[in-house]
């Protein structure tokens, strides 16, 4: 009898807790489920049965919806973000988005259709890191860490680490080198991006 009561009580308490908790504005979605769905989808999209055109379209959608593009863009430009004009920022974000889509849909091709598994998550400052693992075509496993922020109740990706290599650090270093070699001006980077993005279209 006692047992049954405690069970009922537990359910009631749980239900109340759930109801009470749900109206919270920043009810955090489950980061593990988020990455599982996203990673599985991305790996399918990379597969050889998907046409190049469709792959790019899907990546474009994925990057736009699930990545915190403004935050990543600001990080990637670093101190140059602060000196950029609003027009430059806007154009940069547009070009950067397309550049990432084109570059990484090709670079991640080696993970096409490979087993993908999420290992767990942990908080890190205002971010959540979800660790996952994917097997490369040659059979070796690579650790992929996803950095997420809770953006008003929606999870957004701020960075992806593949085998210890950060996507946004790589791009910051590359773009920074281009700006630096052009006398600290942003326009030459934009020109290079325009050409790269345009040439592939």
């Amino acid at each position: 009898m006692m047992r049954r009561y405690s069970k009922v009580t537990a359910i009631v308490v749980l239900a109340v807790a759930c109801l009470g908790g749900s109206p919270r504005a920043n009810a955090a979605p489950d980061p593990v489920a988020f990455v599982t769905a996203l990673g599985t989808q991305a790996i399918q999209v990379l597969g050889p049965q998907v046409s190049e055109e469709r792959r790019l379209a899907q990546f474009r959608e994925l990057f736009r919806d699930d990545f915190d593009v403004p935050r990543i863009g600001a990080f990637v430009l670093g101190r140059y973000w602060r000196i950029a004009t609003p027009q430059e920022r806007q154009e940069f974000l547009r070009l950067f988005q397309e550049y990432i889509v084109q570059a990484y849909s090709a670079r991640l091709g080696q993970y096409a259709g490979q087993p993908f598994r999420v290992l767990g998550s942990r908080p890190a400052g205002d971010e959540i890191i979800v660790r996952s693992q994917v097997v490369r075509n040659d059979g070796s496993a690579v650790t992929v860490d996803w950095y997420l922020v809770n953006d008003g109740g929606r999870l957004k990706i701020t960075d992806v680490y593949v085998g210890g290599v950060s996507m946004k650090v790589t791009e910051r270093d590359e773009f920074g080198a281009i700006i630096q070699r052009n006398g600290g001006r942003i326009e030459p980077l934009l020109a290079a991006l325009r050409q790269k993005v345009g040439a592939a279209n």
């Binding site: 097997v135 059979g139 496993a141 085998g163 290599v165 650090v169 270093d173 590359e174 991006l193």
Partner: protein
């Protein structure tokens, strides 16, 4: 984007010997900053740790030509002519030859956990694996990890020094280049070859290691080159980040999701990813 491969994971210890000795000659002025603590992954936004950029870019261009004309055709032929299992055996054999030096570095870094794994791998693969032609150790969950003297120096707190592009060998820095030379000099295999007047064997090993490494990333590197705006800057960033991860030993001993090549299906248990506060197995990116 596996940069460990593109640095030609321990490419040619023996070549490195002579090369590294030449570098040691110019290492004296470097000793001053070598005393400074390693700056972790923080990259100066000003020069990316690359004061010799113009020279490096020139050598990088030369390497790209050699890569295009010699290495890629060789690696492609190697991949086409030899069946997969043979290439796997070559790969396993070369790796097994590297284990003594990896063991030495595990010890120098005071990592008994890593050292015991390396030792066990070497014993298992040299015996059951018939001189290293097979890798039964991995199936026994004795997982391979790389290690080298450059990492040891970094663990000891020595800074990387300027970024360097070595002719043929590719991305490096002063610390890692000296490490490469040291590893090549101390390698038992090279010493045996040298003592028995079969130095060619050491060169053959170095060359095969280069081709083995290059053959595993032909498409990856081509994709990075094609899609990047500044290939040199991208490789520099990848090298620095990859080395930083190797120095942290962050990805060492992470069990595989599934058995690597056939084998029994005892998938490794999921890793608990809860970490104690204060410890930080995953380095948060510098903001």
């Amino acid at each position: 984007m596996n940069v460990r491969h593109l640095t030609a994971a321990r490419p040619g210890h023996f070549f490195a010997m002579g090369l590294g000795l030449a570098i040691i000659g110019c290492a004296a002025p470097v000793a001053a900053w070598a005393q400074q603590p390693a700056p972790a992954t923080a990259v100066s936004e000003e020069n990316f740790g690359d004061p010799l950029e113009n020279t490096n870019r020139a050598i990088f261009g030369f390497n790209q030509q050699v890569d295009k004309i010699v290495l890629v055709p060789l690696a492609t032929t190697y991949k086409t002519v030899l069946p997969g299992p043979v290439r796997d055996s070559v790969h396993d054999f070369l790796r097994n030859l590297d284990e003594p030096i990896i063991f030495a570095n595990d010890v120098l870094q005071a990592r008994p956990d890593l050292a015991s794994t390396t030792l066990a791998r070497f014993v298992v693969n040299s015996t059951i694996g018939i001189g290293g032609l097979w890798d039964p150790a991995t199936k026994m969950h004795l997982l391979y990890h790389s290690n080298d003297l450059g990492v040891t120096f970094a663990v000891w707190g020595i800074g990387s020094g300027p970024y360097l592009i070595l002719p043929i060998l590719g991305p490096s820095n002063v610390r890692d280049a000296i490490g490469l030379a040291g590893d090549g000099y101390a390698d038992p295999g090279n010493i045996i070859a040298s003592d028995n007047h079969v130095v060619w064997a050491a060169f053959a090993r170095a060359g095969t290691e280069g081709i083995d490494a290059r053959s595993s990333n032909i498409k990856t590197l081509a994709d990075i080159e094609r899609t990047s705006l500044d290939y040199y800057a991208t490789i520099r960033s990848l090298y620095r980040q990859r080395r930083a991860a190797e120095i942290r030993h962050e990805y060492t001993n992470i069990p595989n999701v599934s058995p690597v090549q056939g084998g029994d299906d005892t998938a490794a248990p999921p890793i608990s990813y809860q970490v104690a506060p204060g410890s930080s197995p995953v380095e948060a990116p510098k903001k």
